[in-house]
Symmetry: C2
Subunit: 191 residues, 2 copies
């Protein structure tokens, strides 16, 4: 017997809402987006929307989580280049970067819903990249003395920092700088 309630239609609706919210935020940005705005874009009332997500902040976090999922699903090729690709693609949706930047700032408060999300993201990202780097180091394509955890932490901090700046000053080439970092940083001490 096909269950109703949270399973079935409900969970699908949630996905639809998330998709619409993602699109709206990507287009209009974080500041221009209130819950009412989002509800309208999704064809729901404010109350209707909040039925699925308890609060505005939680909805926003859910949007970021969804984005991460689709980003990771589209990952191909070796670790660092794949992440640079994500950054490159992000440049086409400044609204989402803006959302992330605001959330990152707000997440400084441990009680904020984005706090745990950010911690998870840092941990998973660093772990994943560090693992890949260790493997590369093992096969000799990276210097033996490379601190892979440190490098991974740096990569994400650099990527996030570049994105925050790019939003204000689009003259910088985020992807190029990340690649430059990668080339130079990982070959140091090798020759």
């Amino acid at each position: 017997m096909a269950k109703r309630g949270p399973y079935g239609k409900g969970i699908e609706r949630r996905e639809q809402i998330l998709d619409a919210a993602l699109r709206t935020i990507a287009e209009r940005g974080y500041l221009a987006t209130s819950v009412a705005e989002l509800a309208e874009a999704v064809g729901l009332s404010q109350g209707g929307l909040l039925h699925y997500f308890g609060s505005k902040e939680e909805l926003f976090v859910a949007v970021l989580r969804r984005r991460d999922e689709t980003d990771l699903a589209g990952v191909h090729g070796p670790a660092p280049a794949a992440f640079v690709d994500i950054v490159r693609r992000n440049a086409t949706v400044p609204g989402l970067i803006e959302l992330f930047t605001h959330m990152q700032a707000a997440a400084a408060d441990p009680r904020h819903p984005a706090h745990d999300y950010m911690l998870e993201r840092y941990q998973l990202g660093t772990e994943g990249l560090s693992l890949a780097l260790r493997e590369m180091r093992r096969t000799g394509s990276l210097p033996e003395d490379l601190d892979t955890d440190g490098a991974a932490t740096m990569f994400f901090a650099l990527a996030d920092g570049l994105q925050a700046r790019w939003l204000i000053d689009p003259s910088i080439d985020m992807a190029a700088l990340l690649e430059q970092w990668w080339d130079r940083y990982t070959t140091a001490g090798q020759r």
Copy 2:
């Protein structure tokens, strides 16, 4: 004749306000700080405070500018290490980092008062560091093929990114990572 008005007492008062605001924000953080809060800390009414700064945002930007001035005034020694010292010192005033992070996010809107401030800061910072790097490169202490503008841009993006993350996850050692970056990045291709 000693002028009154904006000059003399007025300008001093402004400084006092800025100092008190700086302290308050450093202690309580950005979110917990409303104009009323600030006014109280400074011993003024809300209206009194807003007499000096037109709006909340402008006041916040003024606080950041002031912070930059005192930071730069305390700079000693060679360029990169001095900046790392600033980051190290920042770790004692998370509230200010939080303020900066929020402002950086808000500055994505070109109409926001923090927008121009951020642009200036990026430009001055990058110029200054890049100049120092060029000098070091000239004297042979840096690789000849180092892109100094790129490296300077990276440094600040990395520093800002690390600070934003550190606010959420204080387990990382910002200064150590910056030094690690500096060592490895600038010696690449040198041996």
